[in-house]
Assembly symmetry: C2
Amino acid sequence: MARWEPDARLRLVRAAVELFAERGYDATTVQEIADRAGLTKTTFFRHFPDKREVVFAGQDIHTQLLSDAIAGSPASATPLAVVGAALDALTGTFTKDRQEMSARLRIVVDGNDDLRERAAFKRVALAAAMAAALRKRGVPEPTAGLAAELGLRAFDQAYEEWLVPGQSRSLIDLARHALHQVKTATAMLDDAG
Amino acid sequence: MARWEPDARLRLVRAAVELFAERGYDATTVQEIADRAGLTKTTFFRHFPDKREVVFAGQDIHTQLLSDAIAGSPASATPLAVVGAALDALTGTFTKDRQEMSARLRIVVDGNDDLRERAAFKRVALAAAMAAALRKRGVPEPTAGLAAELGLRAFDQAYEEWLVPGQSRSLIDLARHALHQVKTATAMLDDAG
């Protein structure tokens, strides 16, 4: 029996990102990831169904954070305010020590068609989960879907900025600013230029 | 030399959709698609790189239609009005005789993870092309991306409705109505419920 590895999941992700960055995603095997992490292949497969899923390890937790924050917002909050609270809950977990690994992971994803497709699909699933949480609060469609999409756009924008080398602002700050920008932009949709 | 087949592309798409619906996407081979269309495998590969791309045959034309309509809109039009004109140009090409094949194709895509991922990815590319065409007109980000997204949401909504069996309204009508709904919804984003 393998011994208990409390941080096995994180170690596997770190090892995978290192190897993907060093020798490329396609050339890296699950065995190599396990070796680098000082764990067994069996342990790897207890945490991830395949190599690809390591890249999207945080997805389920992200979905839960967003959904919980949406459910827990005051009843009086507007749909966009609720989305803002959800973004705060999510972006607050992106601490500074994750910045470099996230930047490396982004390069791996951008360089692989399969991973880019998967990322687009995961993004759709995240938006759907947020919209569902908003509908549960009584926000009707298409407003719920739209508010979720605006939140994700703000996140994407902020995340992009956060990964720029030398970025000193926190992701939570960047996301708040981006959400404000997106909100301002919606007011310009029906303005003649 | 193969003889000239003016409608080869359309025949291949129709044959593929028939076969996918009959025996499933995975169980259908390129050879079978070509046979059903009364064409050769070589002709198939002159039109499509692989089986999967048959499903997304219209994508390039759709992108072109949207981009051209955006570029050709009057300078005074608001971003959303431009997107409305682009949707008109696109949805006007979805004639009634395409309704049934489109519905069958949708079922094939929904039943296959790989195709669903590809569809999500293609959707992102379509939105990016629309946003680029809007930026070319001087619409700044994030307004350009937002207007494109709203247009695609209206299209998705309308397309869903158009594929409902017995639907008698045209896609262009449904899309205009959906865009109006999306526009109304944006005004509710910062309203308390």
